[in-house]
């Protein structure tokens, strides 16, 4: 239907003509604030003492914004803000549901703990070279990934966090770091390019990139459309990002090389962004293909958690062992994805939240060990229990949580996942989860026994820079994360209910679709 010259066009169908209500601007606050603060920190690179103050203040604001968003999504359903006034599916729509807001909140807390630890761990030189700007930009990328409602925009946020993580990883430029970054850089770049390839094919098939629109169009596709191929590409791309078993070589090659603060933030955030994207794409956008791929994902999950725990057992350096335990944890999230249903997906969500908190805390704790002993090689340190009892207790709590022992946060998601696997058709997956839990308990138990419980080996002199005291900033970050681990462990029900809400929102995205297309589509 062509309109004649001068005839009015009904712009209301395509554009948002009213101004965005002030409260909807909240959706982009977690992205805009860190970017602006990162730019300010770059300008203040000579005032390097000021940078952590700005970063910590901004990250507290971001966490507060994420908490408000979470409360709002729980009360009113998903919140949408469209960019550039173009209504979806034309414009980019930031869409926040319970899952995205929950992940964004936990990510902000983990980044905050990292920023706190940076006060003592990151010296003047690394701050001048931009530790805090990189950290803030990475935080913006992670928040953007969790909050966006557009697949191509998700790719852009992936790249933002990736380039910031390159910067963090290579910061300082020690030979070991450069080596690790080469492997990390190439493999992660290939993973994001695979993601872009999958986006290209999906665009060719459905002609849209808005997630809500894709969800609608994929369900209406004719029989025989090559959507399973695209789903498989997404699994490979996000599996690589999340460090799932056969494509995870980049993680153990790089995570132990940078400063421990950087490793802690990475362990908490980066792999979980991949896991989140996989949950979002496979469950919400392509539910039928998730069922098709469930067996494959289950095998990958079992292999990821078992090989991760086995490799952790074989490491002499505590940092490297933790890297493999991060991988092992990803296996549980994939197991929940394979099991599916509210039970499996809420278990996966719960596990992801637990893993973000506990793995970051573990790395921060190893940072304190290195600070005191000057090394994290098993067999070279010992007797830490006597030297730093309070800190040793914190480490024990975190180890229990990662190993999945009650009453700490790791126990509940594992129990949820094992019970979901036994209720479904996955008894062998439940066995793999229990076996991997046993192996990671062994790995962590040995670290605890040798480094903390056993008396120091003969000739052991702590050659770290500081004495046995753990600095207050580390204690604040580590203690805060450990406190959350304990609280979640003792009172799991609120988070479990939240995870069930998030999973239900993924399985039945009616509320999400309604929020993006209020007038129907």
């Amino acid at each position: 239907m062509a309109l004649g010259a001068g005839e009015a066009v009904d712009l209301a169908k395509a554009m948002n003509l009213a101004a965005t209500p002030l409260r909807d601007w909240l959706v982009i606050v977690p992205v805009v604030l860190p970017i602006v603060a990162g730019a300010v920190c770059v300008m203040l690179r000579n005032a390097w003492r000021l940078q952590p103050i700005i970063a910590i203040a901004v990250l507290i604001l971001v966490a507060a914004a994420d908490a408000t968003l979470l409360a709002r999504t729980l009360a009113e359903g998903p919140v949408v803000m469209v960019m550039g006034r173009w209504l979806p599916p034309f414009g980019i729509a930031f869409t926040v549901d319970a899952l995205g807001a929950l992940f964004a909140l936990v990510a902000a807390l983990v980044t905050l703990a990292g920023a706190l630890n940076g006060i003592v761990d990151i010296g003047e030189k690394r701050r001048r070279f931009g530790f805090y700007p990189f950290l803030l930009l990475m935080s913006a990328g992670v928040s953007g990934s969790f909050l966006t409602g557009d697949l191509f925009n998700l790719y852009v946020w992936f790249e933002v966090l990736l380039i910031a993580s390159f910067g963090l990883l290579v910061l300082g430029g020690e030979p070991r770091q450069v080596d690790g970054t080469v492997k990390y850089g190439f493999l992660n770049l290939i993973a994001t390019t695979l993601f872009l390839i999958a986006i290209g094919y999906l665009y060719g098939l459905v002609g849209t990139l808005n997630m809500a629109d894709i969800a609608l169009k994929v369900r209406a596709l004719p029989e025989g459309a090559p959507i399973a191929t695209i789903a498989a590409l997404f699994v490979v791309a996000f599996g690589m990002k999340a460090a799932a078993f056969p494509v995870n070589a980049w993680l153990p090659a790089s995570y132990h090389t940078p400063k421990i603060t950087v490793a802690a933030v990475f362990a908490g955030l980066l792999t979980k962004v991949g896991a989140y994207a996989l949950l979002r794409v496979l469950v919400m956008l392509m539910p039928a293909e998730r069922v098709v791929l469930a067996d494959l994902i289950a095998v990958v999950a079992a292999l990821t958690m078992l090989t991760g725990a086995l490799f952790a057992l074989a490491q002499a350096e505590i940092r490297r062992a933790l890297g493999f335990l991060v991988i092992s944890g990803i296996g549980y999230i994939f197991a929940g994805l394979a099991i599916g249903g509210t039970a499996g997906l809420s278990g996966a969500t719960f596990y992801a939240v637990h893993s973000m908190l506990a793995m970051s805390a573990a790395y921060l704790a190893v940072g304190a060990v290195e600070r005191y002993a000057g090394t994290s090689m098993l067999g070279e340190v010992g007797g830490l229990w006597r030297a730093m009892p309070l800190f040793a207790a914190l480490f024990l709590v975190v180890s229990f949580a990662i190993a999945g022992l009650p009453p700490f946060s790791g126990f509940w998601p594992k129990a949820m996942l094992v019970s979901a696997a036994l209720d479904g058709e996955w008894p062998w997956l439940a066995a793999a989860m229990l076996g991997a839990g046993f192996l990671s308990t062994l790995a962590l138990g040995r670290i605890w026994l040798i480094a903390f419980w056993k008396p120091a080996p003969a000739g052991f002199t702590p050659h770290g820079a500081a004495g046995a005291s753990v600095p207050a900033a580390t204690l604040a970050g580590l203690g805060g994360l450990t406190l959350l681990v304990v609280v979640i462990g003792l009172a799991p029900e609120p988070l479990a209910a939240l995870a069930r809400r998030a999973a239900a929102g993924l399985i039945d995205p009616a509320a999400y679709l309604n929020a993006v297309f209020p007038g129907g589509r």
Binding site: F166, V182, Y203, L313
Partner: protein, 125 residues
Amino acid sequence: METGFTFAVAVFFAASFYLLMSRRIVRMLLGVAILGNATNLLIFTAGRLTRGSPPVIPPEASMPAGAIANPLPQALILTAIVISFSFFAFLLVLAYRANQETGHDDVDAMRLAEPKHSPLPPEGY
């Protein structure tokens, strides 16, 4: 026209995978550059190729007159080009630094982060 582009995309991908499987960083870099271009061409082809006019609406009309080219894939590619170029630049500098630090451009020989004979954990308590 799509068929021709499809073949071009296939050739690009094959070349980039071949180069990426090399152990030499310089070849891998070339592979990354070609991979980015292959992906952009893929998105371009997926957006349907038309010999239409540019997607510009004349000032007196309120709709485009005839068939127009799809502007969205081009916008996406523009973004992807910027990103992949910046990544290429970063990796190039990184490769140079890695060569300086390790004296190799063979990734198999770069074993600083993961030494070949890393010690085993102590046995027994």
